[in-house]
């Protein structure tokens, strides 16, 4: 492309750099804010005085966390959930997406299966029936509920399906000629050709599992079984609109706050996803785009 070097384009260039820098900084701020609060003096943190930099810099919160068994327990549950959940989800939805990527000529039940999927994406019985169902399965307070109870991530299935559908047809035909069955075609041909979308969906799925707090809250009976986000939510959450407190609860609120420690926990909880996503980022663009936008 040819660079035109008018004054206007220079001004634009400068302004553009400024705008993008500000945008980037604004996106970094939440992380920076939590870091500052976590490194601040307890009094300054509790008093809400921290804005731009730590006040009374110290590492006490992080020392406290090191010895916090409950925190690391939840951390490990979340790690286990992400690893097992992502593995299970990927295997299942890849197997689902492949037949659905066939036309209804090639696979007759496709139409009905597709409608069921879309229907399930939009309709749900609400929290209460869902809770009762999981309870009936005997999965309450069970680690596997954290993996299964969210049901099939339909959106990700659609993403995979569209990607598969847009793969060149000849690679599959060649394999058929070689005598490969559907299973071998799927795992040895389709999947290796779909690295970008699979990497993207892995990222979505693992972020989804990592950030999910509601299921942990509703389905786990004891805090020792809480995943990390649920654990964090219970220590940082506000009193929602419409709830009134009893004496003990007021006193608890008044006495036990340690915002610096809370912030340190929040900060640590953000880290794993931030470490992982830049590595998957390079697949990201082609993953989403090819899945969503036809050719």
């Amino acid at each position: 492309m040819v660079e035109t070097k008018t004054v206007g384009s220079r001004v634009f260039k400068v302004i553009n750099y400024i705008i993008l820098t500000i945008l980037a900084l604004s996106c970094l701020y939440p992380l920076w804010y939590e870091l500052c609060v976590s490194l601040s003096d307890k009094l300054a943190a509790d008093g809400g005085l921290v804005t731009l930099y730590p006040i009374g810099l110290n590492f006490k919160s992080y020392e406290l966390i090191m010895g916090d068994g409950a925190f690391w327990n939840s951390f490990m549950i979340s790690v286990g959930r992400v690893v097992i959940g992502t593995l299970w989800t990927m295997v299942v939805i890849i197997m689902m997406a492949y037949p659905l990527s066939k036309s209804s000529r090639e696979y007759k039940p496709r139409t009905i299966l597709m409608w069921i999927l879309v229907f399930c994406m939009l309709f749900n019985g609400g929290t209460i029936p869902w809770f009762i169902t999981v309870k009936q399965y005997g999965l309450l307070d069970n680690f596997w509920a954290l993996v299964f109870a969210g049901s099939v991530p339909v959106f990700n299935v659609l993403l995979l399906m569209n990607f598969f559908r847009n793969l060149p047809a000849d690679i599959e035909e060649a394999a058929l000629v070689d005598g490969a069955g559907p299973w071998r075609i799927l795992w040895q041909i389709i999947v290796p050709c779909s690295v970008p979308v699979i990497a993207t969906v892995i990222l979505f799925t693992s972020v989804g599992y990592w950030n999910e707090y509601f299921q942990g809250l509703v389905l786990m009976n004891k805090e020792t079984n809480y995943p990390l986000q649920t654990y964090i939510r219970q220590i940082t959450v506000q009193i929602p609109v419409g709830v009134t407190l009893t004496t003990e609860q007021y006193q608890q609120l008044a006495q036990n706050s340690n915002k610096a420690l809370e912030a340190a926990k929040v900060f640590i909880a953000m880290i794993p996803m931030l470490i992982v996503y830049p590595f998957l980022q390079k697949y990201f663009v082609s993953g989403i785009t090819l899945g969503a936008v036809k050719g």
């Binding site: 209460i128 809770f131 219970q234 506000q238 009134t244 004496t247 609860q249 006495q255 036990n256």
Partner: protein
């Protein structure tokens, strides 16, 4: 073993046990009572219904209230007896759901919510074992879990409803046991005495409060009256420094707030308010413990918002939609506009509304007695000279009118799946807690005791204030209040321990003829007791020493049948509108429109229902 056999055995055990106690006439009625227990789970709703309608007339075997006076004295703390403190032959397990504080660190290593000093005590002494079914880490999560448990008809054996709405919903969903036979038959004399402080002649508010559709279905929670008496708190050291008399009326309070700001004591705002989700006043459903609300100020305007009141003509009206309330809200709006009130009232989260109080930049707030000490412990830790004092806010006519709270706020619900034995065990555990709690190690947070239920005499704080003052003045001794002492009484269960620890907190140099100040106290040595004493000696001083001019009760303290759906709508409307008017988001000129809306959107229906109910 089948339920029937257990019940029969229990009945037998009771007959034998009571026979040993003597008092023949009483024995037979209680024995019949207990034999009723076995059938009660199946068909008792009608029994209890009769109980409550013909209360106080005859003592009948189906379950009229057995007065405390007819019971033998309870066994002394730590001992068993054959009835209210009996030891079960086989371990009785009770499952429960409970809120526990995830960041509390007072529990010894290895202990848990169902394995701690209290549960071990229950198991060793009484063979009652509490088994935790679920916990939740904060109020919102707890209510969510409770809602789901109700919706899925899967309550644990025992769970505490945080307000009456949950009790009513659970009862109407037919999920709760009829607790009357177990409660009436097994509660301790001490509990009975306290229940009897809530009414007269068999008509006790503690009992009717736990009764839904004529079934008594929860252990009553009886909290001190002063929980609902609102006063204001102010930094006395600042007043002294600025040479201001302690304010008596709202205009004087406003002047003090202005002075705090102008002098730089309060650079941001002078008066703290509520957090997101809070209310600026407590209503008939949650009639007490509204920390950081403006209740005291409304009272100074003779307004009693959120209560069902009766006018001179005997007609029921709603306390919020009145001219007095309008004047009070207009005044608050003015204060807000002038920047006296925390501009972030109703927005701050997670207890941030108290930041200024904690870090010493805000010098005024309102609430009940425990707001000082228990409620603002951090502000003394940060500044051991922060001399908070509590005063009533008078009307311009010099009257101190207070609104009176409901008997209790929480309800220990027992599921209908409970066996008769489990119900008895729950009642006995409650007896034990009321009798023996003050003997436990107080460094462990009370939140860890399964199903801890407060049963306190309505005047406990005032009684303690006077008794402990008596000790400080040398009119009584610490020993007088210990077991066996001249003034020992089971009705005021914390007094023995409080008397014994008095010297750890209050300085020897304190002159009891003067008011107590923070400088007379040791903040850190026994911080738990410091908080308690600050709350009692300073926070409750107004109610303990000043007789209010008027005590105002709501005509009804819970939602009546058919009222819920209207209440859902108008309560939201009301909470939002008042807060918006205070913060200037809505003009006070829209007051009449608000009142009209309130009545039109369901308020009139609600008043109709209340009127009908009260007419009988």
């Amino acid at each position: 073993m089948s339920k029937k056999i257990i019940a029969a055995l229990l009945a037998l055990a009771m007959v034998i046990g009571l026979a040993a106690c003597g008092n023949g006439g009483n024995t037979s009625s209680t024995a019949e009572e207990s034999s009723k227990t076995e059938s009660s789970t199946a068909e008792s709703s009608t029994d209890a219904g009769e109980t409550n309608t013909d209360e106080g007339t005859t003592i009948d075997a189906t379950g009229a209230w057995i007065p405390a006076a007819e019971h033998e004295d309870d066994a002394i703390p730590g001992e068993n007896d054959d009835r209210a403190f009996k030891k079960f032959e086989n371990t009785v397990e009770i499952t429960f759901g409970q809120q526990v504080d995830p960041v509390d660190t007072t529990l010894p290593e290895g202990d848990s919510v169902d394995n701690n000093q209290y549960t071990r005590y229950l198991e060793e002494k009484f063979n009652i074992k509490y088994v935790c079914e679920w916990t939740a880490g904060n109020t919102a999560d707890f209510q969510q879990k409770l809602s789901l448990a109700i919706a899925s008809a899967s309550l644990p054996n025992s769970v505490i409803a945080p307000n009456r709405n949950y009790l009513v919903q659970a009862a109407r969903a037919d999920l709760l046991a009829d607790l009357w036979p177990a409660f009436n038959g097994y509660d301790s004399k001490q509990v009975k005495e306290i229940v009897e402080t809530t009414g007269t002649d068999g008509d006790y508010r503690a009992i009717s409060n736990c009764t839904v559709d004529d079934v008594f279905c929860a252990l009553p929670n009886i909290t001190v009256d002063t929980d609902g008496v609102y006063i204001y708190f102010i930094r006395q050291d600042w007043l002294d420094e600025l040479n201001i008399e302690a304010p008596k009326t709202y205009s004087e309070l406003k002047a003090a707030a202005k002075a705090f700001m102008e002098s730089g004591k309060s650079p941001d705002y002078a008066i703290a308010g509520i957090d997101n989700g809070g209310r600026t006043y407590s209503n008939f459903l949650q009639s007490s413990n509204n920390g950081y609300g403006f209740d005291a100020l409304y009272q100074a305007f003779n307004a009693t918002p959120g209560y069902f009141l009766r006018d001179d003509a005997g007609k029921i009206y709603w306390g919020t939609t009145t001219d007095e309330m309008k004047a009070a809200v207009a005044e608050l709006a003015e204060w807000y506009k002038e920047g006296l009130i925390n501009p972030e009232i109703g927005v701050t989260t997670n207890g941030d509304n108290a930041n200024g109080v904690k870090n010493g930049t805000c010098g005024i707030f309102m609430g009940p007695w425990w707001s000082l000490g228990y409620g603002n412990g951090d502000s003394f830790k940060n500044d051991p000279t922060a001399d908070w004092q509590a005063y009533p806010l008078y009307t311009n006519d010099g009257e101190w009118n207070i609104h009176m709270k409901d008997v209790g706020t929480t309800y220990t619900m027992l599921s209908k799946d409970c066996t008769a034995e489990q119900l008895e065990a729950a009642v006995i555990a409650n007896n034990v807690l009321v009798r023996d709690e003050s003997t436990f190690d107080t460094s462990v947070a009370i939140g860890w005791y399964p199903q801890r239920n407060v049963i306190a005499a309505a005047d406990e704080c005032e009684y303690e204030y006077n008794a402990l003052m008596g000790i400080l003045k040398g009119e009584a001794t610490v020993e007088d209040y210990q077991i066996g002492g001249a003034k020992y009484t089971t009705l005021y269960k914390n007094l023995a321990n409080d008397a014994a620890t008095l010297s750890e907190v209050i300085s020897e140099d304190y002159d009891p003829s003067k008011e107590l100040h923070v400088t007379d106290m040791d903040v850190m040595t026994n911080n738990g007791q410091f908080n308690r004493f600050y709350a009692i000696f300073v926070g409750d001083r107004p109610y303990a020493t000043i007789e209010p001019d008027k005590k105002i009760y709501s005509e009804v303290y819970y939602t009546l049948d058919g009222m819920d759906q209207y209440w859902t709508q108008v309560s939201d409307l009301e909470d939002q509108t008042i807060l918006q008017m205070i913060t200037g988001k809505k003009s006070i000129d829209e007051w009449d429109q608000f009142c009209a809306d309130w009545h039109a959107q369901g308020g009139d229906k609600i008043l109709e229902i209340v009127e009908e109910f009260l007419a009988g």
